[in-house]
Subunit: 396 residues, 4 copies
């Protein structure tokens, strides 16, 4: 057996590549992600990115013929294309080569019930966010995962960008001192032009609170933003005050949220998420200010991190350059200057999920966990409650 | 008499230059701005920038010898260097060539009393911000200005950057449609490293609420930010909710404010001002999002404006290029590509103040007025009250 | 059979996804790319990116045990791991399920001899650049490809970035008018710090002109740059004048080239490539200036294209936004604002190579061809000759 | 007498302000710069910027009435407005309060003859670039300046940007090691759209080689670029090879130049200047690469300097921040984050010219000198000769 090699190229010394531990791939199936699903395509690509998964089964439609047609077009055997998760759970469980891992990318209201039979069969689960549509489901799912000791990953993919992780490492090692102030913003602009008559066809399930939760913008990107804040800083919010509105002219769903957070001690944070920011194109940005320095990362320039030591010139740290830590380097695949992007970050979650399955020790994962999912749900519900109560501070 | 010429250079066709209307300069004096005063230097430079003022008198110290020494070093006649504003007011009033205009750049608590005798003598006043330290003084000053019909300008200098004005024009002419959302941020980092023992020597009068108002960060840059929001959008806030804190480790003055604003109808805004944003260097930014487009301007790149029409590519509009309106072009002095900066914007206020004095019609000024000053004070006090009441919404 | 679906997400309407034409993958093998090879890893990832290839065979070492060990670690069957290309060609040819496509990523001196037996067996070839190490080999390879009518692709991967292609489309449709001026630059900095004693261990085969050609920097990135210029503008150089040097303190290989090019009519171009540009990190940039506008693309910000119509504001066009052409959109996989990078561009070449193999019509490929490879070789040799003759103009 | 004070603001500790050495201004006159002259306006503004000059006399037109009308509109006494430089020289010389300094901003062909009578009367001269239109005039002017020991400054204003000077200081103190490679580029786009019929009205004297020299683009910005290269690096060119063309569709003047330079030892440089770079807006950039690091400065972002130590993260050094040297700080007027621009740089030349006049010691000026002017002329003529000889290398 070839041991997992490091790629060496100049200063680049990478663990992320396509060499298999024990020469073995993990068999995976997916529920969700039919023909026009961007997120389905993304999960499948992320799974094959580092050569770690063999994609063997799936539910792509409630119509068995459509599910088979699409599954075969992805290269599956027709016999492993299913019309519902229940039959998939049962049949895969009865196969000697049944799936070891399941990816779920349906609307969040279905996550718990779909995951349940698989988890009870010890299938490891990687699930899209937000975790569920209700806090009750989230907590039930958490219990189930812990009871069955499976590996569970939540695809808060933004936290897996190498330079975002470099920010985390810089903070963790004390290079910006104690945190004073955090800003996260995620401006998007996609709801501004939507007409009332097109709302249902464009926004689809996002309009249905039963399957999407109490607040569209909070479910879509509010939970991402809060996870990012927690992931990078290591801090939880104690209280939140929020003003959440529907600003797009013809719509009534939540499309903008201003949230102020009290973290521990004197430190404060703000989160702004919007789909009303005309012209916004996934402009996720995080800035963390401490007593000894500051860091800033922006998704539109994901391969660089700005690090400003107190009273010194800002450093522009490039991914995989000589200035990065091993922690972020291990999430990189390319030499400095060759740009990586969204898919590489998403694939990092999948590959670390694979590592956690393959590895005997199930601790210290860097990917988002079931606990992270539950905390995200609590944040979303607290912010919505605050907004409903005229920005009253709500404890988390 | 040479009429005021336009400079023509390529597409550049400028009104801002050093040609005098009626071949005549306006005599000006200053109160404040001694040897180590940055703001004093800035006002004097702004006054001479476009050749419109003759600087003839001033109070630079309470010690008459020091005041004379410094005034002469600036090129003044010793007889017009004074030790207090009262004697300056009296003596200048008795001269046939006495000052027609007064610049005030003392701490704001003194603005009203200094301005009073000059205004009563029909001297026009240009005053640093914030207007005063109390709402009462602000309102008394407003009455005085209106009663005496003098020209009054407040140096909210950021509003005079040409490309900020281009943003105003784009909004005014409907190119971004109805405003949905506004963000203003002004991160600075200068209080982070200050030790308790150095507080008094570094922050000086900023620690004294009597001469600086109820909230250091709100007085310093909160009022600037709110003026900018109003200037660019043409909208006033109806209510504010604020969280204002002291985050710098060893200090107790306000150094960070998160403010949410309800504007008219459905539109919302946020203002964030800070001196705790480690590494922040006057990073003033404004973004306005509407139903048909968005604009974004950033002081660190002042010669460009980003304009994004709905569902179209962003335009990077350069100052004085073929794409700008006459309104912003008239605030420009240099061809596109040659950078202008802070002093040019400051000088615009002075030159428009001169125009208003020289012109017979006293309307439609583009510079910040006494009313703007009063609104800024109301905003500052409302935000502070909200913060004191646990972020309760306060009406303006 | 599911027809190849378009993914629809907002305005995004993509052809690039993982749906297989006729439910069928293409069997591919690789020669080159052992354990520590970055380029080997890149080719394999590019092949699996869009789910179009089944990787089944390869030569990874001259030592059969090492080749098997590594091949199995990539998931191959041991029986299809070979120690030399000759036996691979023979054995794969004799299998009913033998490879239909071959990827070559050895040093360029070996390309011709490796490709030959496969091409003669009608195996389609995708080959790393530069095409060969001599002009003779390049021309022999061209004849062989044309005689056997196989599909041949050269991985000048930079030309497959979507926004680079948008630049090509803007130029082709006349939006910048007639081309006047072109700049290409590719500054890297990796040779500056190399000590004489480490030269062999770091630069390896790059020191050997027999397997790498007459000029290190020209072979590595000069050919890339010239291909990019030709791809984007549609113009060939008529004459070149070059100053090629070895500037790194302790080295003697070519590490910097300044090249001036006369294109057709009055138009001129410059190409600058370097590994002596300290701190340079794959800073590939192309700027094209025409009678009606200009375009600029920079690898460090690959998801945007700057397009400046004559006398108008620059447009920042975002990949996959509402402003792009179908041509570039078809090379995209992600909605505007989510960054794509180097691997996606590389994968575009592989996927279009797959399309060309699958499709009955073998024309109008967008990927770099055998003719492009030959032109790159002629450019490299002419530039080197010019430099040897004190920058004399050399005809191409 | 007040000694010249330093302004202290936070870390800012500035020498540039409006305090007069010995309470005294220098009387200055100008030849050139009539009503529509941008460069005339710029010189006058630069002279009054730091309060150091009293503008008292000038020639603004050959028509005495026009000259008086314009001069009075600038605030001059009618008796000191002249119609020709000869009478100005004579009359000012006979006044007890005659000018001590002369600014010249006519086309370069007139510089020598205008300067001559003033220099012979010991009037100090500040002159626009290029120095003259012929090498003969340049050398005669140099002799005259040296013989009469007057202070002479040439307004290569770009060299006076504080962060450009910081680049010089970083290089001088060895922080980038030995220089290997230099790039200077200055793309402008103003000739692209000019029609043949408008050529004379737009380009004016630029078409006349007698008053503007052998090559429009070289005189306009080629000399600026070469001065910048020499100023920042401290190196002279030994040989140049150039391709200078007229690329704008309807014009025949030189509008684009690619120049390669051999500096000392192994080091090389390139200069590209153009008015055919459609959309170019004074995009002056300089990059210097050495054995230990690199620096990059761009006029479009003049308040920052990029400094990249070998194998380390790039530093973005901000003007007047805690990271700059005294050398650049002394050219600054504003705290870090408040942008300075073109006029401040131009004013630096004037203020240092004033310092040189006022000071008893006449050495170590930082502003461009008569020798710099002569070297620029030699460069321009050598480059033009090389281009005429099909890019032959020409010694300087």
């Amino acid at each position: 057996m070839a041991k997992k090699e490091k790629l060496v190229f100049g200063k680049l010394n990478l663990m992320r590549n396509d060499v298999l531990p024990k020469n073995k791939k993990i068999c995976i199936g997916f529920v969700g992600g039919g023909p026009n699903s961007f997120i389905g395509y993304t999960h499948r690509l992320a799974a094959r990115f580092d050569n770690r998964f063999e994609f063997v089964a799936g539910v792509f439609s409630r119509d068995i013929n459509k599910s088979k047609e699409f599954g075969m077009a992805l290269g599956l055997d027709a016999s492993r294309c299913y019309s519902d998760y229940q039959s998939m759970a049962k049949k895969e469980f009865n196969r000697p080569d049944g799936i070891e891992a399941l990816g779920i990318m349906t609307p969040s209201g279905d996550h718990y019930k779909i995951a349940k039979p698989f988890i009870e069969n010890k299938v490891n689960v990687i699930c899209d966010k937000p975790l569920t549509a209700t806090l009750q489901d989230a907590e039930k799912l958490e219990k189930l995962v812990k009871k069955n000791k499976i590996v569970f990953a939540l695809t808060h993919n933004y936290s897996a960008y190498p330079m975002l992780r470099e920010a985390k490492e810089i903070i963790k090692t004390g290079r910006i001192g104690n945190i004073l102030l955090v800003n996260v913003e995620y401006p998007q602009g996609y709801t501004v032009g939507i007409k009332k008559k097109d709302e249902a066809s464009i926004l689809k399930w996002r309009l249905d609170k039963k399957i999407c939760g109490p607040s569209m913008i909070m479910a879509e990107i509010g939970t991402h933003s809060y996870h990012l804040l927690r992931y990078v800083t290591g801090l939880d919010a104690k209280e939140v005050s929020a003003e959440i509105n529907s600003l797009s002219p013809e719509l009534s769903i939540d499309d903008n949220a201003f949230i102020t957070l009290r973290l521990k001690n004197k430190s404060r944070a703000s989160i702004w998420v919007s789909s009303t920011a005309t012209g916004g194109e996934n402009g996720l940005k995080i800035r963390v200010f401490g007593t000894k320095g500051a860091v800033e990362w922006f998704q539109d320039d994901p391969n660089h991190l700005k690090f400003t030591p107190l009273n010194k010139a800002s450093r522009i740290i490039t991914r995989a350059s000589g200035s990065v830590s091993d922690f972020s380097l291990e999430s990189s695949r390319l030499a400095a200057g060759h740009p990586e992007g969204f898919f590489e970050a998403f694939a990092n979650i999948y590959t670390e999920f694979a590592d956690a399955i393959t590895s005997s020790k199930k601790t210290n994962y860097t990917f988002p966990s079931i606990e992270d999912g539950v905390k995200g749900m609590k944040f979303m519900f607290a912010a919505k409650e605050s907004s409903n109560k005229n920005s009253k501070w709500i404890k988390l």
